[in-house]
Symmetry: C2
């Protein structure tokens, strides 16, 4: 029935939820993968599960490991403080301390393992090079380097066609992502973007600020409840 | 005191143990990393711990995750049977079912995260392109592709010098690895190569056969006890 199987990296946030709905719209049989890495905002996994259910996908794997073993990020070390109340100009100055070393490389590696085992042809990831954070592992040249790893590092890539990394959001602004998600029917109220780890979204961390600014620019109300 | 910090991928086998001793001989401050991925031969982790202790290194991290979630390899799916009693010619015909999809990519990704957090300059890995198994993620072109990911996918690689992947064994034959390990004083009796998951090494899986053949070719006795 489906010609293409795809693994979708699903954090439960605005971007990855839009990407899941895009993969569905592209006609893929969808297998989501999420990661419990003991992140400060593990609350996002509840959203990932809710989105996976809403989208009626084929399967959803949650992989567990512990990046607090060595920390190195404000998202994996509770001793480090999250930046708050920054404007977009402040956010874009440096790679922020919410950067998690090698996170997308770890995520894409597990997605690759899952996809090769399934015989999937595609992996969807919601990276976004225009994101103000400037995370190095969200840029196109990095994705191209991972694509080469997919080609050379797997049986499927050596013997046939490599699993393709699909990045529908890479050149979109946050407002454009929200417009795309609106067209695709993404249930925003089920998504979770906040870094802070509370019961409700904080509204002041970089991730909340970016999200709220984009909804506001579009003249829309973000249906997520903020503290 | 040390100028160079290095993360060493340590499975507890013959190759990775030799690489750890090589990193020490190279003057590195050594941080080992091992993986409990629910592999059939988790017994190798006891050897990894013993080798790490013998080598008096700075730290040893064991990262836990579960690759039996999707299986896809005779090492992560107990329903699949290990090939046994094969000669070297039989082993070299195809990529065998002991291939674990994306395993070295997952391992190197975690090593990268650990190394960047430590501020390490090098990652040592005991891949070997002459290995009869023909695993795609043990070849030089794959390692070069991962090196590019290290450069583009991390803060350290974008802002300064990328963490370097060091592969001391990549062009060595198994007999040459044993000779190198002998010179470095690797305690072979503490290492573990067998895939089968028993209390003693089976002597008939591909990994045991390769190891035994190499010791025999050198006229040496393998001190590991075989069933």
């Amino acid at each position: 029935m489906f010609e293409v199987k795809a693994v979708i990296l699903l954090s439960g946030g605005l971007d990855s939820s839009t990407v899941l709905y895009q993969a569905k719209a592209d006609g893929c049989e969808c297998y989501a993968i999420s990661f419990d890495y003991q992140q400060r905002h593990r609350r996002e996994l509840e959203s990932a599960r809710a989105i996976a259910l809403s989208a009626h996908i084929k399967a959803h794997q949650v992989v567990n490991f512990d990046l607090t073993l060595w920390g190195g990020s404000a998202l994996t070390d509770n001793e480090m403080e999250l930046p708050i109340d920054r404007n977009l100009a402040e956010m874009s100055q440096n790679i922020p301390i919410t950067y998690v070393p090698a996170r997308n490389t770890i995520f894409l590696s597990f997605a690759l393992a899952y996809a090769e085992t399934l015989g999937a042809q595609r992996i969807y990831i919601g990276v976004n090079a225009l994101d103000y954070s400037g995370y190095p592992d969200c840029r196109l040249d990095y994705i191209q380097a991972m694509q080469e790893v997919f080609r050379l590092g797997t049986k499927q890539g050596r013997e046939g066609e490599a699993i393709k990394i699909v990045t529908p959001l890479i050149e979109l602004k946050k407002t454009e992502i929200i417009e795309l998600g609106n067209n695709l029917g993404v249930p925003w109220e089920q998504t979770w973007s906040c870094y802070a780890g509370g019961e409700t979204a904080c509204g002041v961390c970089d991730s909340c600020r970016l999200r709220l600014a984009a909804f506001e620019e579009l003249g829309l109300k973000d249906p997520v409840f903020y503290a």
